[in-house]
Symmetry: C2
Subunit: 247 residues, 2 copies
Amino acid sequence: MRIGVFDSGVGGLSVVKSLLQHQLFEEIVYFGDTARVPYGVKDKNTIIRYALEAVEFFKNFDIDLLITACNTVSAYALDEMREYSNFDVVGVVKPGIIATENVLRSLESEILIIGTQATIASQAYEQPLRAYGFTNITSKATGLFVPMVEEGLYDGPVLQAAMKHYFRDIKIPDAIILGCTHFPLISDAIKHYFNHHSTMIHSGEAIVEYLEQHYALQHKFDATESKFFASENPEGLKNVAKKWLAL
Amino acid sequence: MRIGVFDSGVGGLSVVKSLLQHQLFEEIVYFGDTARVPYGVKDKNTIIRYALEAVEFFKNFDIDLLITACNTVSAYALDEMREYSNFDVVGVVKPGIIATENVLRSLESEILIIGTQATIASQAYEQPLRAYGFTNITSKATGLFVPMVEEGLYDGPVLQAAMKHYFRDIKIPDAIILGCTHFPLISDAIKHYFNHHSTMIHSGEAIVEYLEQHYALQHKFDATESKFFASENPEGLKNVAKKWLAL
């Protein structure tokens, strides 16, 4: 099976990492829209327009499935992407919601959702979880975490100050949805901030579980061929890929 | 005189503010490329491509002069913009350099240049200042300041932590070049961090001084007509304009 992975930038490589670890596919074509990153501060129509341009890009490849690694795109543009595709399109939001439901024992559990401004404003995680019956949900746009990860500040005083700023009024959560592909890189710091109490919901792990349940993916591949494309600076993307994916 | 002001987003309004205060023009057409902001992490070719698209936009208006408020564009794309324009194009870097030279008494003065990753990498400020004879120049990419300003964190523990992170090894400067349109909003906090010793070089003030010297702008206008355009979310731009410019 040949799949595409679409992200607004390099962050989606954290999802690719999970896909590679589970050896699910024989070929992965990655496209990061690095020339227009970040999407998380842009408005709905712009996000949809950019997502449809990515769909056109992937039509050049004979893919069976397109994974949208970006939470913001998953929150806003999936329906439109499906409408204009000749392949399946799966986002990370639904798998994240299912993983959260599977992990929590009580509908009174405290859930914290963090993501970009656009993802949080969409309520893409919050609404279905409320509909499922969860009552203690806090959604928080933590936009500064994205550039901090991009500057390599995975912990330390700057991240600590930002966590204090964002989390000052928040009860210790039972589950934290890392609603942005950048956040797995600061997962340990966030976990530590909340005294290691919370279960972290990671888009990459959640989507692997989802794909294993919804697609016939019995076969494990010894090697996955990976191709990386970027709308600017493909070398930069390849360097991050080498570092994150140990290629 | 009718001018255009181009910026990657809303930040250029800090330059418009200076232009309005000095009543230099009868009409200002502002375009912010909010759909693709920020430019400061993008590469040279992308920045030039976006800048030339802005030039095409301004050709729809009968402007005499285009001011590039964005430091990153001023650092990379001015030559190309001039080549494809039928109007004058002025950036903020050269005026900032002249203002710095005018303010400092000694070539041994300590200069700190802060800006986006792309602006600092261009050495657009540093090279001419070294050629002029200044020897103690520190350039520092302070990318996190941009989203902090956008989240309204003009001071407080998060900005303090970021300043400590960026400035930990830096001697108290005699002049600080605020090499990004967002930075005037945290000018006071930076000044305070360095014990109020440093003279702050502000793009808006610097370009007003430059224009007054290089163009025949004797006439002061009681009212300046302003038009605001954005590549997405023009309402957001207008709201910031109302707040910053008290329109």
